[in-house]
Symmetry: C2
Subunit: 449 residues, 2 copies
């Protein structure tokens, strides 16, 4: 096994024993990137020397945490003090060199401060490896050039395209993304990696380009549930009642089965893979119970879209005022309230979602989570699509935590995600349940095997 193939947990254990340096691990990742980046195009900004300097500095220090010396990729909507942040937008290009801004791009700024999530990871000793490609502003407009490591003709999914692809391709063991619609879970499914959208608001969004306040969420990527746990635990959010209600062994799990009102949009192969997974879980002793959403849930994706589009009315106003010629017309449409949303319609959407949230969590009572698909099928062909988010937008609107497990496969061997959804604030328990579920499937596959 090559060094770059090790998970964060495996590499961290070796570092703790003195059997691996951060420099060696980071160098292995950089070499993998050098070899593969021409094909995968996952990175927006990379400074190999700076990353190695961080790694050497960590190697000279006492270990600060389990993340000490571990490289992390960051979606390029997340601000960093030592790398540019450009959101894949021409408005912010040139920020590294133009300290005072420049005439064509007056909002471009030099790197200066870490987003909240970056400050947490850096303080714990993680090495900020680079910035990963994103759909413009994680919202629309310009597509990233990133290709799916499983099939370069296919999208890795978006908008956290580079984070999903880089982790899948062995370029970096961990990465952060964001999700406002389906931007974390969808790339996790299409790229065959583990992904997590935590409970909305649990990880501060401070320092990340906002799109829609009710929905914007930091996302996590890894190549195992253990690695997602390493990232999640960085925020120190264990709940006081977790010890009282431990997640039991896999065979004692009680999981809901939630095909959602959009099941007819799932491809037959995805539906078959899902049903196969249920059989496997059932055979392993897992208790599966129906967890269907009532008819009032059918419109959640529409309400989610209204809430999301409304965010666009103010999110891109600085760019519209300062550099309209550089702002893709899609954002200009959003600024113009292209759906004609009224206050009454927005309140109705938000309140309907609030009622559905209460209903769904009541349905989860006594369960360890609900199973559904992460995406309606495999990654579509083409780099100017992201695929559909029909199995993501409802959960984003409900603000509940979701984990995507790369344990389902299409007949042609492309990844499909199995999604586990839990009640708000039980992110830690949900990850524990996801770890149990993962043990009942074959070990993860990788595009390099």
């Amino acid at each position: 096994m090559d060094v770059w193939q090790w998970s964060a947990a495996e590499a961290g254990a070796r570092m703790a024993q003195g059997a691996l340096t951060s420099e060696a691990y980071v160098r292995a990742c950089l070499e993998r990137i050098a070899q593969r980046e021409g094909d995968v195009r996952a990175w927006a900004h990379l400074d190999a020397d700076a990353a190695l300097a961080q790694a050497r500095a960590r190697d000279r220090e006492p270990r600060r945490s389990v993340l000490h010396g571990i490289p992390v990729g960051l979606k390029d909507v997340i601000r960093t003090r030592d790398l540019p942040t450009a959101f894949n937008s021409p408005v912010y290009e040139g920020g590294l060199s133009a300290a005072g801004g420049n005439a064509a791009s007056p909002l471009a700024f030099p790197p200066a401060e870490d987003a909240h999530c970056v400050a947490v990871l850096r303080a714990l000793g993680a090495v900020i490896l680079g910035k990963t490609q994103t759909l413009e502003f994680a919202c629309g407009g310009r597509f990233p050039p990133t290709r799916n490591p499983w099939d370069e003709a296919r999208t890795p999914g978006g908008s956290s395209s580079g984070s999903g692809a880089a982790v899948a391709d062995g370029m970096v063991p961990l990465a952060l993304g964001t999700q406002t619609g389906g931007s974390t879970i969808r790339p996790a499914a299409f790229c065959g990696v583990f992904g997590m959208k935590p409970t909305w608001g649990r990880l501060p969004f401070d320092g990340i380009k906002s799109f829609a306040a009710h929905l914007d969420t930091v996302g996590l990527y890894g190549r195992s549930v253990d690695d997602l746990l390493l990232l999640w635990q960085a925020w120190g959010l264990s709940e006081p009642d977790e010890a009282e209600r431990p997640v039991g062994p896999a065979r004692a799990l009680r999981l809901g089965v939630c095909r959602t009102p959009n099941w007819d949009q799932a491809e037959p192969a995805a539906q078959q893979a899902f049903e196969g997974a249920l059989s496997r879980l059932s055979a392993a002793g897992v208790t599966l119970l129906p967890c269907e959403l009532g008819p009032e849930h059918a419109a959640i994706n529409t309400w989610q879209d209204e809430i999301m589009q409304d965010g666009g009315r103010s999110a891109f106003r600085p760019e519209m005022l300062a550099a309209p010629a550089l702002l893709h017309e899609e954002f200009q449409r959003k600024l113009g309230n292209h759906l004609g949303l009224t206050p009454a319609r927005l309140r109705a959407a938000l309140d309907a979602v609030a009622r559905c949230r209460m209903d769904f969590e009541r349905a989860l009572d006594g369960l360890d989570g609900a199973l559904t698909l992460s995406a309606p099928g495999v990654a579509p062909v083409g780099l100017h699509t992201q695929g559909l988010a029909v199995f993501n937008r409802l959960w984003t609107a409900l603000q509940v935590p979701c984990v995507s497990l790369p344990v389902l496969w299409s007949p042609e061997g492309l990844p499909l995600g199995l999604q586990l959804v839990g009640p708000r604030y039980e992110d830690g328990r949900l990850l524990e349940a996801a770890a149990r579920v993962a043990t009942l499937f074959d070990p993860p596959r990788h595009p390099w095997n």
Copy 2:
């Protein structure tokens, strides 16, 4: 009338006619600050030369908007590209000089990027005058040194202490603050200025230190409703149905009267002033209708506190990890989940608030807003208190827009705020209604009269 006494609207009209330069207006504000700052202590960072340079640059340009050349103060939790941002926290002191951070304060950063709201104002030609004093992180810990311009022995209220006091004292016509509990409306009431907490999420919080995601809101200050409108309109958020439901003349207003479940905490003088205001409005032809909150609303302030304290579990983690010795113990307590909040309790609080929100907006149906007090009384004596937020926290939790009008006065001549509350997303209508209400009272008083 001295130049510094002009409102933003008055000064802007003169600038549009060529009868006033931004430089002259900014210079007048700076002179007022030089004269009064020793007593009021409203400013955390001020760079007079840089402010004058901005003003001269605006004077050389075509006017960009009604805010062109108008100086604005910013609470020092709002990031700026040309001034330090220190949150009144020792963790971030020294950020101006220490480009790479310093050993004692590793998170201190140089100014580099404007918060979303600052970028909007700057693009519209506003002059960023300086940063105003705040309670540490707009949350707790270290109090600001700011004194109330009406009585220097009293607090200006917090946490947007400097913004409220600076506008009240004629140092700057407009300022931004934030509100997570009562941090915008309370200083507006105590300082006798107009203040607005918009609908949660309407103005992106991007670039402002977050405390509690469900509650954090940008706040606006001015010395008239017209000036609040100048600020509000900067975001371009007029609603498609506003023209269909125009706010009528003052005598045609229909307002609810909402004494809230905490009316017994209002001081007798405040209650009397409120009842006097109702008589005055009624005599002017305003239709006043009961808008009482049901018994289920009695606990909103408790739920608001749980939601707010929960935000503190993650908000201050970077500071706790990187510079624990510089982080006030109050934040360390918050990080430790000092209320012992469980996921179930948080969900219950959020869902109960969501139900109250639906109830309250149903009660507002057919009304132009609801009247209540902005604060339970006048500013308390002492600079190590902020006063109570019992008449603010419920509205912050409900995420509805609020405007405080300085039209009530205590027998000793100190300001008391009359608060007008509306349904979500009807911020523009609420400001129009507030403008009508203001015409039925005597013109604003100022501490310098």
